[in-house]
């Protein structure tokens, strides 16, 4: 029996995560203000990825879930990455 199925996440954790997410948002706005050319696309995407990592891990409870759910999430992201790679292999080498 799994009676304590859920780890109760303290409010404090959520507040800290929100502060982190807001900081990353402002940083990403600041960094794209600078003209970095194609680097700014990469920069913005890195910031977005870090932010969604925190949302997945803390807000969506993956940190406290059983590992198989994390595995499934990683699998879906792997499918997505493969789709991008295959699509761009096509467009880049036409």
């Amino acid at each position: 029996m799994e009676n304590e199925k859920h780890h109760i996440v303290p409010y404090r954790v959520y507040i800290l995560v929100l502060i982190g997410l807001l900081a990353l948002t402002f940083l990403s706005i600041a960094i794209t203000e600078i003209e970095l050319g194609s680097l700014s696309v990469a920069g913005a995407l890195v910031f977005a990825s870090v932010k969604s990592y925190f949302v997945l891990k803390y807000f969506m409870h993956l940190k406290y879930d059983k590992p198989y759910i994390v595995t499934m999430v990683l699998f879906v992201f792997a499918i997505f990455v493969v789709t991008i790679i295959v699509t761009f292999l096509d467009y880049l080498f036409r």
Binding site: H6, Y11, Y14, L18, L22, A44, V55, V73, I84
Partner: protein, 206 residues
């Protein structure tokens, strides 16, 4: 006592509900994922036009909406904690804050789209098809489809949260039966994650 009877009669399986929700979220991720792939390809093919078109978008309103969604994500996550701590009132208040923030997001979106429409930028408009280049038409097409589909998800999320609030109020969702609140929360966070990518791709990169 009544609740105990319920547990005997209903098949309640929090873990199965969660897996089901995640499977649904995967389909959503791939739905938006493919739209992002389309965006990436057209951006690659129409680099300059995308830059030019993105200048039209208001970074400030996009940033405000990002902040709104991030805060609302925190409040709905906190609502689950409150429910698990058996604080019914706080659960409803936190879910209510999420509801209000989601509504404010939509109001911002309304004014943002309204401003575009006033400038003659909407799908199939004369200005769009005659005055702008192919790449800019693609940019605005993707902009309206992706933020529109995202706004539709916000509306669905708001309905879900309203239903959850009602059920918490009625005592049908409580600490031992929290799956509906948790899964609505997961859906709301998904909507948040999609916006986390939409914001830089449409508003920031120019």
């Amino acid at each position: 006592m009544e609740q105990e009877k319920h547990v005997v009669h209903d098949h309640y399986d929090a873990e199965a509900s969660k897996i089901g929700m995640w499977l649904f979220i995967f389909t959503e991720l791939l739905l938006f994922g493919v739209l992002f792939v389309i965006y990436a390809v057209y951006r690659y093919l129409n680099h300059d036009a995308f830059h030019l078109a993105a200048e039209e978008l208001d970074t400030f309103i996009g940033a405000v909406n990002t902040i709104i969604l991030l805060i609302s994500s925190m409040t709905i996550a906190m609502a689950t904690t409150a429910l698990q701590k058996k604080n019914k009132m706080l659960t409803i208040v936190l879910a209510g804050i999420t509801l209000v923030l989601g509504f404010v997001f939509l109001v911002n979106k309304y004014f943002e789209w309204g401003a575009k429409f006033d400038h003659g930028i909407f799908p199939g408009s004369v200005h769009l098809t005659e005055a702008l280049s192919q790449g800019e038409i693609l940019f605005f097409g993707l902009y309206f489809i992706m933020t529109g589909l995202h706004a539709l998800h916000i509306i669905i999320g708001l309905v879900l949260i309203a239903v959850v609030m009602w059920k918490v109020h009625k005592g049908k969702v409580h600490a031992e039966r929290a799956a509906l609140l948790e899964n609505s929360g997961l859906y709301w966070h998904l909507v948040d994650i999609i916006w986390i990518f939409l914001f830089p791709l449409f508003y920031l990169i120019h």
